[in-house]
Symmetry: C2
Subunit: 146 residues, 2 copies
Amino acid sequence: MMISTRGRYALRIMADVARHEGDAPVSVREIALRQEISGKYMEQIISVLCRAGLLKSVRGAQGGYHLARPCGEITVGMILRATEGDLAPVECVADGAHPCERIGDCPSHAVFSKVYAAINQVIDGVFLRDLIDDAAPVPPLPEKKG
Amino acid sequence: MMISTRGRYALRIMADVARHEGDAPVSVREIALRQEISGKYMEQIISVLCRAGLLKSVRGAQGGYHLARPCGEITVGMILRATEGDLAPVECVADGAHPCERIGDCPSHAVFSKVYAAINQVIDGVFLRDLIDDAAPVPPLPEKKG
DNA sequence: CAGAAATCCTATTGACGCGGTATGATATGC
DNA sequence: GCATATCATACCGCGTCAATAGGATTTCTG
């Protein structure tokens, strides 16, 4: 299990916001209710997603979050990299990596590079749009407000 | 960096043993000298590789390890799974996994399944034989014995 | 048979990240 | 001005990682 809850929650959060996009921003409390994620923990994850330019916030009462870009332009790769960091199987094959000192005598480098490429190909090929299309219809928000 | 030193060391250990296969078994001390890995730590990793049926041990003086099977029959996947566990990106897509309770409403499941499949395809398609063919020629063992 | 050389086994340690909680500051709609 | 939000830190318990340590067991060799 190499993707932690941070990345998994981030996907669910982004999908939730995408599904409920509208005039009103989506608040942490709404998402927490629907997704059953600790609100406080979610704040931290959302903060990362904002800084990564994937969400934008509306402060104050009736505030919340919007997608910063349309869901057809946001990939799973962007979301996971923002929250998990680069998904390289080992450090020395990552994008901006300093090559390890054993390269040249490293039998495994080629394999890890292939793994890295395979992972990226998948996560960069799936968009947020695809996630919400595939998924089940919008679950009802518990009408606690009325 | 989702593959820890255990898995990476395991690959180097297996490659080292494969390269130096012969009548005499390969000892921890030899490997430690060539690969610059802590001998004591290596013992633990090797112990796992033995239990996984990838290495077999020869006990006592002049003992050491042999490949349990020819290097054309050992895949990178076998080695990594033995030392790292299943390389599933999340638990719920692993082979014998109990499906998570949110399946059906989980937008990410399909993506993670694809990632999982892509990883397995790579690591199950590369054999120990390939590793030692690709790599640099056998490095000399420091002649400390003479 | 004694001892050296090796594997085997288990316990311990320090550092670090993960998952979450707590507290408070700041901004804003009503 | 107050409730409702986001924003920013600090903190904590826990498990894993990467070793280290110490000793028990097996076996070749002289």
